[in-house]
Structures are given as C-alpha cells and as structure tokens.
C-alpha cells in the first residue's frame, strides 16, 4: 500500500534566485506522522532529480505540522535568465504532491 503526498498535505513553491523552496503542510496529525517519518530528503531529491541538481535541505516546523524543502540549482540558473516557461517554478509544488510514500 502506498499513498500520495497529495492525500496527506498541501504544498506551495517559492523562488529565490536559482533555488526553489517547497513547503508541505499536513492535513492532520496522522498525516503529519507519515510525512515526518517518510518524506525524506532522499525521496524528495529522487523526485526532483531530472529537474534539479540539488542539494536538498529539509526543515521541520512541528508547530505548523509542516516541512520546508529547500531545493538548490532548480530553476534553470535563476528566474530572470531561465529558459523555462515556468521560470519561477510555481508548478514544482505538484512534483512534491505526486511523490508516493509507503502508507
């Protein structure tokens, strides 16, 4: 049995230079337990491997039941010079939400 991050939480992506940050906020306590223990740096790096060079850093905000992933070298050199259509990487939150975790 696996479960998509999309079922456990919601996410938003932000940009600064060539770095993307993607937050994941758990819907409830049970979801937080799964996200906290299963949504690892390794799993996130694997999901973004064809887009970003990394590294990936994970920050925990237990009070908000949220994780914040900082993904470096993710935005085609930076918003202003990127050749990508989504230069800000606004859509990158849905790569996170598509990750499958062991349920």
């Amino acid at each position: 049995m696996s479960i998509k991050v999309h079922e456990l939480g919601h996410a938003r992506a932000g940009d600064k230079g060539n770095t993307s940050n993607v937050s994941v906020v758990a819907y409830d306590d049970a979801a937080w337990q799964v996200l906290h223990s299963q949504l690892s740096v390794e799993r996130v790096m694997a999901a973004y491997a064809h887009i970003a060079r990394g590294p990936v850093t994970r920050y925990e905000l237990p009070k908000l039941r949220a994780l914040n992933f900082v993904i470096e070298n993710a935005l085609g050199g930076g918003v202003t010079i990127s050749l990508a259509q989504d230069a800000h990487g606004k859509s990158l939150s849905y790569v996170m939400l598509g990750i499958e975790l062991p349920g």
């Binding site: 996410a11 905000l61 009070k63 050749l83 259509q85 989504d86 606004k90």
Partner: protein
C-alpha cells in the same frame, strides 16, 4: 495622535496584480494604510533602461491605473498609501501621482519620496565586493551592470510617513518593510524593539503577495476549494501597539483566509525558517501559530526576531544577452513523432546557418515543459513543441523563433499555431553592502 491599534491593508502583490480588489479594500476596508508591493527582482533594471530612453519614465507601468482606482476613496477615508511603484524613478512616479490627483479633481496632495536605494556608484567604487551566488568579485559584472539597488528597511518608510504626506513613494524597499514602516510610524514603535519588529515583519511577509494569503494560488478542486475566486479580497492586518496581530479581509469579498492559507504563505519564499533575513531583523517563524478567531479572521502569534545584520542586500541587474524562442503545435495520430521531427529539423537548420548556443531548451508542452521528462510519461493527444535558446548575439537568438516559424510550410504535416519571440535578458545577482555606505533621503514633492 498615536493610536493603540492600526489597520494596514495590501493593494497589490505584484506588478501585474488585479486592480479592483485594491479599490474594494480602499473603500470598504476601514484602513489606516494601504500598501502596494509592485517590484519583482529584475523590474528596476528594466525600468532603469526605460528611464535612460525617457527621463520621465522608469516607474511601474500600471501606476496611473492603480492610483485612479484608489485615490478618491483613500483621500475621502484618510487612508495613507505606501508603495514601491517608484521603481527606478520615484520622483517621476510622485509627479505622476500628483497629476492624477489633479485630474481626478482632488485637492493638491504631497508625495514623500524615498531616495537612496540606487547604489550604482557605491558598487562601482567597491569592485571587490563578493557576489552572494558565486563568491566572485562584482568587478566582472560592472561593464554589463544596468542597475544596483539596496533593499532599504522600514526606518525610511517611517521617516517618509513622518512628513505627513498622504502618499509615500519608494524605489527598492524590502517587501515586509513597506508594511512594518506603517507600524513604526502609526504605533510609535522603536526600531530596536525586536518583539514588535517580529510581529510587524511577519504581518508584512504574510500580506506582501496580497491574494496568496486569501485564497489565491491555493485552490485544488475537490481537495482545497476556494469560493468566489473571481472576486478574491486582498488582506489587511489589525496590529496593536503591543504587537498583537489579527489578519482579515473585506466582508463579502471572495476567497478564504484561514489557518491553511496562512500556513502555506508563511513558508513562501522562505529557506531556513529560523533565519529569514530582512533589512529590519532576522525573523524566526518556527514558533509561529495561527488561530481562527472568526470567519476569515486569523490571529498570528509566536514570531521572534534577532537583531538586523550590518549590511543591506543589493540586487544588481546586468545585461545577459538575448533569449529567442518559438512554438508550434501538433495533435491527433503520431503528434509526438511529428513534434520530435520538428525539433531535429530546427536543430539542423540552426547548425546549417552557423549558429551555436551556450544553452538550448526543448519542451514538449503537454508532457514535459513544467516537470521535465520523467520516465513513463504518457503520450498526449496534443503536444506543442517549444524551443528556446540563449545567445550573446541578437541575430542568433532571433533565428530560433524564425526557424520555428518556417515549420508551418517547411515542416512535418499538420503543424499549427506557430509563435515566436525575442527578448533582451536582464540577469540579477546580489551582494551585501555595509549599511554605512548607503545614504537614504526623504524628499517631499508638493506642499501640504
């Protein structure tokens, strides 16, 4: 007279934001201050080029429309306006606002202008400063530099408000500082009172993207629904002298403001949540908590701040060549194969013409343009080929779109909807500049 509580609202979260929510909040928001944040990282570089061509230009393009929409209500309701719409030319922007007030038949208004964010001279004089991105000295960028602006803090916004001018016009000021400046002035906070700076900075950070706090950038149908998104209301904050903070939006406006929208926005563009650096303080959001106190009303507690750094962050805009691009669409049987054939043809054509590129990107829109080409993607019914390339040479960049365009007649069967474009690239890089090298100044345009 200083008050125990003030209300600060947001009228725009980016340069191309909707205009009518600002009018709504100016008319019905019972505001004391209305803040418009309209400057992206590279905007000033672009506007600096506009100013070089025409000395009366160089401020944000929608300035007139935004002021037309809110000036009558702000003037009637005594709402003071604070904005960075001045971009590369805040003095010309202030004059434009005064012209607009006259055209609307309002009383003469004074505009306080914040100057000093333009640090081009200081950067030229300090070529040894290290770029934050690479550590290299800034010297190598100087020949291509188009602009250099320091992110000023809330103290200059406070000083500008102290002139009693109803409008404050700035160039580059850090986004949360535009809001915090209203609180320093309106609540008589000390610039050394870090618990209060924390409350004001988090209020500004949450509101600076306008609708992103009130249901924008949030809806996911069936999972996270948002009501009446065509009429999303922009946020405001009630801030007490003690730093108490409750967020809200105009009653009856669209969107939603709740703990979920706040949690998404508090981490927006944040890296280490213990250390969000602004010109005013270093904000720590790890202790923050949100509480729904009424429908569309959220109390924010627990923000902390450490003392500000001894430097200002400076964004340097520089010329970085050209980007040329083009698109063409295919649908129905064998659509992807026809799009792939087009890619090969364009690559060969550009090579035949003797062009090469330091970077080229190929997107199959419908498959790979946003999340890359991961394994196992299904072939879509329709696919749109996009090719973009960068070059220091304008002609080479232009050739990309040209060759895409010729596919209509010279390419595979059934290619339609071709487009092409060419744009000048302004890159941005950052350095840290010691505060002592920055001289800020407040100038009042017009008399009170």
């Amino acid at each position: 007279m200083k008050r125990d509580e003030i209300r600060v609202g947001c009228g725009a979260g980016f340069s191309d934001d909707r205009i009518d929510p600002a009018q709504e909040i100016a008319e019905q928001g019972a505001l004391d201050y209305l803040v418009f944040e309209c400057l992206a990282e590279r905007t000033i570089a672009r506007e600096n080029l506009a100013r070089l061509k025409d000395p009366d230009k160089g401020y944000t393009p929608y300035l007139v429309e935004r002021f037309q929409a809110v000036l009558p209500a702000c003037s009637r309701n005594g709402v003071r306006i604070v904005t960075n719409m001045g971009a590369a030319n805040p003095v010309a922007a202030a004059q434009a606002v005064r012209r607009e007030a006259r055209a609307l038949g309002l009383d003469e208004i004074a505009v306080a202008v914040v100057l000093g964010d333009d640090v081009t001279e200081q950067i030229r004089a300090n070529p040894q400063l290290a770029l934050m991105e690479s550590g290299d000295p800034v010297e190598s960028l100087l020949p291509r530099m188009a602009s250099a602006n320091a992110y000023l803090g809330a103290d200059v916004v406070r000083d500008a408000l102290a002139t009693h001018a109803p409008v404050v016009m700035t160039g580059r000021v850090s986004d949360p500082s535009l809001f915090l400046g209203c609180m320093l002035h309106g609540l008589d906070w000390s610039y050394e009172d870090y618990p209060r700076l924390a409350a004001g900075t988090i209020a500004g950070h949450l509101m600076e993207c306008a609708a992103q706090l009130t249901g924008g950038c949030f809806a996911d149908p069936g999972k996270k629904d948002v009501a009446n998104m065509a009429r999303i209301g922009f946020p405001f904050a009630d801030i007490g002298r003690d730093g108490g903070l409750v967020l809200g939006k105009v009653e009856g406006s669209g969107g939603r403001l709740d703990v979920m929208t706040c949690k998404e926005q508090v981490l927006y563009e944040m890296h280490d949540p213990t250390s969000y650096v602004t010109p005013d303080c270093i904000l720590d959001v790890t202790g923050v908590d949100f509480e729904q106190v009424a429908p569309d009303r959220v109390r924010v507690v627990g923000a902390r701040a450490r003392p500000r750094t001894p430097t200002y962050k400076v964004v340097i805009g520089y010329h970085d060549g050209w980007i040329g691009e083009g698109e063409v669409g295919y649908a129905g049987p064998n659509a992807l194969a026809r799009a792939r054939l087009s890619e090969q043809i364009v690559r060969e054509r550009l090579q035949l013409r003797g062009f090469s590129y330091p970077e080229m990107r190929v997107d199959y829109i419908g498959m790979s343009s946003l999340h890359g080409m991961a394994c196992g993607r299904q072939e879509p019914y329709e696919v749109r080929l996009r090719i973009a390339a960068r070059s220091p040479d304008r002609k080479a960049a232009q050739a990309v779109g040209f060759e895409m365009r010729t596919l209509h007649v010279n390419g595979p069967a059934g290619g339609g909807g071709g487009t092409n474009a060419l744009r000048e690239v302004l890159g941005v890089k950052s350095v840290l500049l010691p505060r002592a090298l920055v001289r800020t100044q407040v100038l009042v345009e017009g008399t009170r």
